[in-house]
Amino acid sequence: MNLFEQVGYLLSNYWLWFLEGLAATIILSVVGTIGGLMIGIFLALGSRIKIGKHDKWYNKTWKGFIRGFCYFYSTVIRGTPMMVQAMIFKYSCQGAGLNFNNVLTGIPVFDGWLIAGLVVITLNTAAYMGEIVKSGLNGISKGQIEAARSLGMTRNQSMFSVALPQAIKNSIPTIGSEWIVNIKDSSVLNVIGVTELYFMSNQAANKGYMFIASYTIIALIYLMLTLCTNGILHIAKIKLDGKKVSFPLFHYQKKAS
């Protein structure tokens, strides 16, 4: 069989596996990105906590603790590979008596290992999102906060009503590329047995020893996913700017005659 026949063979026999893997990869990247952003916002806010001169000692203590934790978390998570984090997570859970084989058994795709994968990718993404939101907040002009404070709004009110919405909107392109990174990087979660796209294609490849064909299939699937994601981000950016959606790819410029 040549490559095309092999691709055809794999797709006709194992299409369900690829579909299941695709579903798991999409769930991992979407939940990981959104969940990571949520936690990342709190990490960013935590690392910006102000310790006032006139705070009581116990306020200084917990504020210092939160700041230290946010810094430590972002340094450690961003400084180690997700694959290693996944392994540490899996074996610590097993050591504590939690075996993901016994969680949510009998459901296709959505099994215990996917849950474990979701936890790992969310916690991992959170560290990066924290940095993204932090730099987004740094980009907001000081005058925005001062204007809010001068109207009598508290620090939290100015943060959540004025600064944070602007910071997140400005960070949409970076958050989007983090999503694309997640689509591809979720493949390393196969090491803890998450049945995502790479894991499933690996299995299909092993069935008929059709490695190149199988990996070519998922390479194309990954490419399609990231292209779709780019499209979605493009629309989101335009909608947020309050303009009409148009696709530059499908437009052609009329030549001036």
């Binding site: 006139h54 005058g143 925005q144 001062e146 109207l151 009598g152 009110q157 004025v162 602007q166 909107k169």
Partner: protein, 245 residues
């Protein structure tokens, strides 16, 4: 109590990294007064104004707002700020909101007004500054003069005791300066208490009820516009105003 000043500053001092910016500044602002602060850049005008709103914290001295020292730690700063409006040189309209949301946000969050009530008050104040036809617009779609008028309306919505203007026209071209100054003139004639840091000498001369000349962190001269612009013999003031050769 008619004569009790709304804002009273006593012996205020502030330094940044060892450089004294404010040095023993004392002044009073009475109800209905329009106080203009003029002087060279770096003279401490803006810092003084920002201290009044506690955007900067002074090193020593007292600021009394209706007899209450706002620098004490027991005072609710946010309550004081909601009573002392501020208008900035760079407008600082909230960029993630349209005009009406800009004007209602703090009313709802700080004064706990209902959305309908806040909208009504906002529309009333936007009409006063001539911007009622732009309530759905975003700040980025508006000219500088329009933005500054909306910033004034936003401050007015809080029913402040006084409004502090920090060089409100310094970022505007002459035409827009006129439209903003006209709004401020109207407010002054309606009896709003105002403290205006400005480089617009015509405003200080014709609208202000009192003028302060600040230089090197101290109040160098103080008096009625006639005194400051015509009678005063202070050489520094005269050279600042361009009278001396």
């Amino acid at each position: 109590m008619e004569n009790q000043p709304i804002i009273e500053v006593k012996h205020l001092a502030k330094s940044f990294d060892g450089t004294a910016v404010l040095n023993d500044v004392s002044l009073q602002v009475k109800k209905g007064q329009c106080l203009a602060i003029i002087g060279p850049s770096g003279g401490g005008k803006s810092t003084l104004l920002r201290c009044l709103n506690k955007l900067e914290s002074p090193d020593s001295g007292e600021i009394l707002f209706k007899g209450e020292n706002i620098l004490s730690h027991t005072v609710n700063t946010n309550h004081i700020r909601s009573k002392l409006g501020m208008v900035f040189q760079s407008f600082n309209l909230f960029l993630n909101m349209n005009v009406i949301e800009n004007c209602t946000l703090a009313q709802i969050k700080v004064l706990h007004r209902s959305k309908e009530e806040a909208c009504q008050i906002a529309k009333k104040n936007l009409e006063a500054v001539g911007m009622l036809n732009k309530i759905e617009a975003r700040p980025s779609e508006l000219s500088g003069g329009q933005q500054q008028r909306i910033a004034i309306a936003r401050a007015l919505c809080m029913d402040p005791e006084a409004i502090l203007f920090d060089e409100p026209t310094s970022a505007l071209d002459p035409e827009m300066t006129v439209e903003v100054l006209q709004v401020m003139k109207d407010l002054a004639s309606k009896g709003l208490t105002m403290v205006v840091v400005t480089h617009e000498m015509s405003f200080a001369k014709n609208v202000a009820s009192e003028v302060i000349f600040m230089d090197k962190g101290v109040v160098a001269e103080q008096g009625t516009p006639e005194y400051i612009f015509e009678q005063c013999q202070n050489p520094r003031l005269k050279s600042f105003l361009g009278f001396s050769k």
